[in-house]
């Protein structure tokens, strides 16, 4: 019963004490809300840009899992081809596989009337690439490939410019067939694609899978299977199943295929934590200072409370509750502000004016902030727990006055 009225008493006391100095309280509230806001918004922007980079890389012909012959990843040449075993398509029929495609990917040379360039030739199944790679949505001029045996070719805009060729013109692709002989064929450019980063436009040309197999005398052999799953962060089960189904092949998740992405992800986490720590350190000084001030000016009051029989623990509690209310209000305001900011930026932060520089470091010119429950929880918990911890010192100072001394202090 006693504890029932005591808690509200502490709460009432804390609340009223807070608003004794409205300006001071509002200032510290504003400082805290600003800190929380910056933590969350910066986390959302960083996370958004990183996730975008990750999605982009996965769409840039990576997929969630790739299957090759073991030697292909070190030496991507036609010698390292394979005939997809029936067990593979059976294993890929599971519900956790959204879509999968066979590909032919070999180095080649492309030549126009005036220039030639080294490229990676990719033979694709046009329809099945939808949702798996960027290419179906990247054709901005002309048309996309229509069938695996489409005789046409998709050329990147930058490469088309370099070769001084374009839509509707013919170019020649040269590579090596399975017998190590020159394989060459003329192709008409049926589509020109634009993509980010623009190096991709120069690195790849796309033709039909069957056309590529015919040109390179591959029969039904391919060099790569790429697939998209329903959850890119939990691939273990599918990987294990594929390893059992096709033990002779090299099955690798995107985390192995693109180690840089995994590293970027880890670095992002660390950078965010460092950012949180810096912001919080600055905020906590303000908090401790404010509370110390409040405690100092109420020395006589605390002395009186104690003389009237309030136990030091309750004085400690009173200051802590004060800090708690302050933190809760600041967190609420900061989160609301951050939510409003992220909502306002939902159409992306347009950095196209500095796109060229951004592209160098692999960041897209438009950044879409992304919430992450983890980042949000981390920011809130960190501020709340460490904020309370920081206010322990002023609270402890308040609780350890000797009543007589406190009352007689002028």
């Amino acid at each position: 019963m006693r504890s029932e009225w005591r808690a509200p008493l502490l709460l009432t006391l804390a609340w009223r004490n807070l608003w004794r100095h409205t300006r001071r309280t509002l200032m510290i509230l504003f400082a805290f809300a600003l800190g929380v806001w910056s933590m969350i918004v910066i986390a959302a922007i960083t996370r958004g840009s990183m996730e975008q980079q990750l999605d982009k890389s996965i769409l840039n012909l990576t997929g969630h899992i790739q299957i090759h012959l073991a030697a292909f990843r070190d030496d991507p040449v036609i010698e390292h081809r394979f005939l997809p075993p029936p067990a593979l398509s059976a294993a890929l029929a599971g519900a956790d596989v959204m879509t999968w495609v066979p590909r032919v990917r070999v180095p080649a040379v492309i030549a126009s009337e005036r220039e030639s360039a080294g490229v990676t030739l990719v033979g694709i199944e046009p329809e099945r690439e939808r949702g798996l790679s960027f290419i179906p949505g990247a054709v901005t001029e002309g048309r996309y490939l229509e069938a695996p045996d489409d005789p046409g070719m998709l050329l990147g805009r930058k490469l088309a410019e370099r070769l001084e060729t374009g839509l509707g013109r013919r170019v020649v692709l040269m590579s090596q067939d399975v017998n190590n002989r020159v394989a060459d064929r003329g192709f008409r450019v049926v589509g020109v694609f634009d993509t980010q980063p623009r190096q991709m436009e120069e690195a790849y040309v796309f033709i039909g899978r069957a056309t590529a197999q015919q040109m390179l005398k591959l029969d039904d052999n391919i060099t790569e299977v790429a697939l998209m799953t329903t959850d890119r962060d939990h691939l273990e089960e599918l990987l294990a199943r594929l390893l059992v189904a096709v033990p002779a092949l090299d099955v690798q998740p995107w985390t192995v295929l693109e180690p840089l992405l995994v590293l970027t992800r880890k670095i992002t986490d660390v950078v965010l934590i460092i950012w949180y720590a810096i912001v919080f350190a600055a905020m906590s000084f303000g908090l401790i200072n404010t509370l110390l001030m409040a405690v100092f000016e109420r020395t006589r009051e605390f002395g009186l409370f104690q003389s009237l029989g309030m136990r030091p623990a309750h004085i400690l509690g009173q200051v802590l509750v004060e800090s708690l209310i302050l933190l809760a209000l600041a967190l609420a305001a900061g989160n609301l502000l951050a939510a409003a900011t992220v909502y306002a930026l939902r159409d992306g932060i347009d950095l196209t004016s500095v796109a060229e520089g951004m592209e160098l470091v692999g960041v897209a010119p438009i950044i879409y902030p992304a919430w992450s429950a983890g980042d949000l929880a981390a920011a809130n918990l960190l501020v709340f727990v460490l904020g309370l911890a920081a206010s322990l010192y002023p609270a402890w100072r308040a609780a350890r006055h000797v009543p007589v001394e406190a009352i007689t202090r002028v």
């Binding site: 080649a108 040379v109 030549a111 126009s112 009337e113 005036r114 030639s116 080294g118 005789p151 060729t165 013109r169 013919r170 170019v171 020649v172 692709l173 040269m174 590579s175 090596q176 002989r181 020159v182 394989a183 060459d184 064929r185 003329g186 192709f187 008409r188």
Partner: protein, 260 residues
């Protein structure tokens, strides 16, 4: 007696066949609509069944000019061997062509290198000819459709002007080529146009002489339109046709260790 009669009969038959062939040649020349046949005849005439020739190739650039002497053996349309004999700096460099494939031998490093597809578009020995120009010279027959554009006259000969358009999947970058063939099958001009009908480069014959028993191109020049001061001129010093060629000539071992 019997043997002699059979021999005579065989000889007659051969004469008859030759006459028939000759006749058909005339017949082809007479209705010149069939441009493909004209091109094939010209290429057959140029390559013959086999040949051996000595050629001076002069490469002209704005700052320098140099001349190489080259010996060439060919058999049919798919086999060629090219060997540089002068100047001493380049002597011994050799190129072997079998069908569409190409190997080069450099004595300085004593290595045979297979020219990869990536290098087929590059210049051959620094000249205005690309590796492809050499390796695919006979593709004009199979990979193109031909159309007779008109006729001109040259030194009292009729000259057929033929437009050759590469087939859709042909490994040819040109939009079309215009070949001028004289009625004695000497090729006078071969022009390469891009796909917007702009002339890119041109091989022009400037001298025709009788060598190896028939009139052949004695001097021709390859020049790119966009590089006025640069060209490569090929002068044939000596040529023999239909000669027997040693069995091992067109082999990698002969490319490395010349036996001729």
């Amino acid at each position: 007696m019997e043997a002699k009669r059979r021999f005579i009969s065989a000889t007659y038959r051969q004469c008859f066949l030759a006459a028939l062939l000759f006749h058909s040649a005339i017949a082809i020349a007479a209705p010149p609509e069939d441009a493909a046949t004209l091109v094939k005849r010209a290429i057959d005439y140029w390559r013959d069944s086999s040949s051996y020739s000595v050629i001076d190739m002069t490469i002209r650039r704005p700052d320098w000019e140099r001349t190489m002497t080259i010996r060439v053996w060919t058999r049919g349309q798919k086999e060629s061997l090219v060997r540089v004999t002068a100047p001493p700096k380049d002597a011994g460099n050799a190129t072997l062509l079998l069908d569409n494939e190409m190997w080069s031998f450099t004595p300085k490093i004593n290595r045979v290198i297979k020219i990869p597809s990536s290098m087929m578009n590059q210049s051959w020995m620094g000249s205005d000819f690309s590796n492809n120009d050499l390796a695919k010279a006979d593709e004009l027959i199979e990979q193109y459709t031909h159309k007779l554009l008109g006729q001109e006259s040259h030194d009292g000969h009729t000259v057929y002007v033929i437009e050759s358009v590469p087939k859709e999947a042909a490994p040819v970058v040109w939009g079309h080529e215009v070949v001028k063939i004289r009625d004695d099958w000497v090729i006078l001009e071969h022009a390469f146009y891009d796909q917007q009908d702009v002339l890119v480069k041109k091989l022009v014959t400037s001298e025709i002489r009788s060598m190896g028993g028939k009139p052949v191109v004695a001097r021709e020049r390859m020049q790119r339109v966009d590089r006025p001061g640069e060209w490569t001129e090929v002068v044939t010093q000596e040529v023999r046709f239909g000669i027997p060629i040693a069995a091992g000539t067109f082999t990698l071992s002969n490319l490395r260790n010349p036996r001729e």
